[in-house]
Amino acid sequence: MITADERLQRPLTREPAPKGGDERGPAVPDVQKPGDSNELLKRLKRVDPDQAKKYRQRSGE
């Protein structure tokens, strides 16, 4: 049996690409930000910053 943490041994997690990582242009689209919304801001504040770190799934189809 292996533990969930050992899945990190998969050679898949990357260091972030440098800005301008695509040699032909910007690394992110030049899109505008969403407008202000109190409810949206409240939801953003409720996000657990560790949730993705803890999130492990089995492969599906």
Binding site: L44, R56, E61
Partner: protein, 483 residues
């Protein structure tokens, strides 16, 4: 015109407090069984054939993810049908535990409006089961409609289309592979990391990293762009169930509509022998390059060492649709919609952020980066990416965008919508009312009457709308046999 009866299967991500991937199969089994109402595990596995290949052979075995295989070493789960916990719902859908993921397979739908309604109903049904599971176990449970855990495990969103058997693998592959690659630019779900290949801050598709083959029968590992599973769930002499695994699970119904509509467009062009002649040099490389291309040039190599773009590929299909499918209202709307997306995408993607998941989420994450100082690629930023896909309307960031009016989404959340009236799903859904129903699958119903089994085959192309919900079981069987 052939209607290309369509269904969608979504394997949901599931986060259970204090649990992990090594207990995921047990947790998903319990979650599915938690759905309120009677749990009748009567799925008929006799007709399942996931190793049969559309190219005319049967694979000896299917590839499995070695990491997942290690989870299962020394573990005994009990009978497969108990673990999978298949339920047939009154709306004709199938809800079960697939490799540790709660999976909702919509009933077969003829219209895209029905399909979107049932896809949204699936979100609500899985969430209802999760809430019941959380209440009974005391474990906080969150459901995500996405395709990755950001650590190399992917789970699927599949589309099924009923197509004539005599079209064959070669024609289907040639007609649809360019679409499977190019359509991600108008319906990708977006992802703030790369899990294989060239690193990037953000990419268009959740699934692109997980394809390594052009075509194969596998779905769990070494996944192909074009899946050749030949499991028709109907008369194999007449029909193929085209099994598409190369799409993302979308939060925006408009993206689901566009994603399915484009494949239906390709199939309709096949029916009139008007498919554009485009052969990609390397579909796997192409989908991964397009997915990472934040310049939005979306160049793709075609055979003969010529370059094209995803724009040109999609426009070729739209042009052919205008020429050969004029008069079809649904394709007319689709063509207008996709052209609008393609026109805004190069220079003004902000104009279409409310219509395309990957752009809306990209904007949202940029806001988080600007406001918090988080860096692209950090696990903290991935948490925001993940929460975009939370299906709880009171918690998910997608639904926050919708409620703020930033996303166009008018599909209601309705747990109790009936099965589509004009497909065999209606017969299956109505059949769940009868205690005499002993087994069921997509294509068959088996009843036990007076100690004897009576099997009824359901026709995938037939309209069952006239079958009354008020019949006794004998009359019901007679009606679905003769309708």
């Amino acid at each position: 015109m052939i209607s290309f009866v369509t269904g969608l299967e979504t394997e949901y991500g599931c986060s259970v407090e204090g649990r992990g991937a090594n207990t995921q199969i047990d947790d998903a089994q319990a979650l599915v069984r938690s759905l309120p109402g009677e749990c009748r595990v009567i799925w008929d596995y006799r007709v399942e054939s996931p190793r049969q290949d559309l190219r005319g052979f049967r694979a000896d075995r299917l590839e499995v993810d070695p990491v997942d295989a290690a989870f299962d070493e020394g573990k005994h789960y009990g009978p497969s049908e108990e673990v999978r916990a298949d339920q047939i719902l009154a709306n004709g859908a199938r809800f079960y535990n697939d490799h540790g993921h709660p999976e909702y397979a919509t009933p077969e739908c003829r219209s895209l409006d029905d399909l979107l309604a049932h896809d949204r109903a699936g979100e609500a049904i899985v969430l209802q089961a999760a809430r019941a599971y959380a209440e009974s176990t005391g474990r906080q449970t969150t459901i995500y409609k996405n395709n990755t855990d950001y650590h190399g495990a992917s789970y699927g969103f599949h589309e099924s289309y009923l197509v004539p058997r005599d079209w064959g693998f070669e024609r289907l592959y040639a007609a649809l592979t360019p679409l499977l690659v190019a359509r991600i630019i108008v319906c990708g779900a977006g992802k703030a990391v790369a899990e294989s290949g060239r690193p990037c801050d953000y990419q268009i598709s959740q699934r692109a990293d997980f394809f390594s083959e052009r075509a194969s029968v596998d779905t769990l590992y070494r996944r192909p762009i074009f899946n050749t599973r030949d499991e028709p769930h109907s008369n194999p002499a007449d029909w193929v169930r085209l099994h598409v695994i190369a799409g993302d699970a979308n939060m925006m119904p408009s993206c689901t509509w566009r994603k399915v509509g484009l494949i239906r467009l390709g199939l309709a062009l096949m029916a009139v022998d008007a498919v554009p002649n485009i052969a990609l040099a390397d579909p796997v490389r192409a989908i991964q390059a397009v997915s990472r291309d934040m310049t939005r040039r979306f160049e793709i190599a075609v055979e003969d060492r010529i370059m094209t773009t995803a724009y040109e590929v999609l426009n070729a299909y739209l042009d052919a649709g205008e020429r050969h499918l004029a008069g079809d209202a649904e394709f007319g709307r689709l063509i207008v919609d996709v052209r609008e997306i393609l026109e805004s995408l190069p220079d003004r993607p902000d104009r279409i952020a409310g219509r395309v998941d990957w752009i809306a989420k990209r904007q949202l994450l940029q806001t988080v980066v600007d406001e918090t100082g988080l860096r692209w690629g950090s696990s903290e930023l991935l948490a925001y990416d993940l929460e975009y896909h939370n299906v709880d309307p009171n918690e998910g960031l997608y639904f926050a965008l919708r409620d703020a009016g930033m996303v166009k989404d008018a599909i209601p959340t309705d747990l109790d919508i009936p099965a589509p009236r004009d497909t065999r799903a209606r017969a299956r859904g109505l059949a769940t009312r009868y205690p005499e129903l002993e087994r069921a699958s997509w294509g068959t119903l088996v009843f036990r009457l007076d100690g004897e089994l009576r099997e009824v085959t359901l026709d995938p192309e037939r309209d069952y709308s006239h079958v009354s919900p008020e019949l006794d079981v004998d009359d019901f069987i007679r009606a679905i046999r003769t309708s």
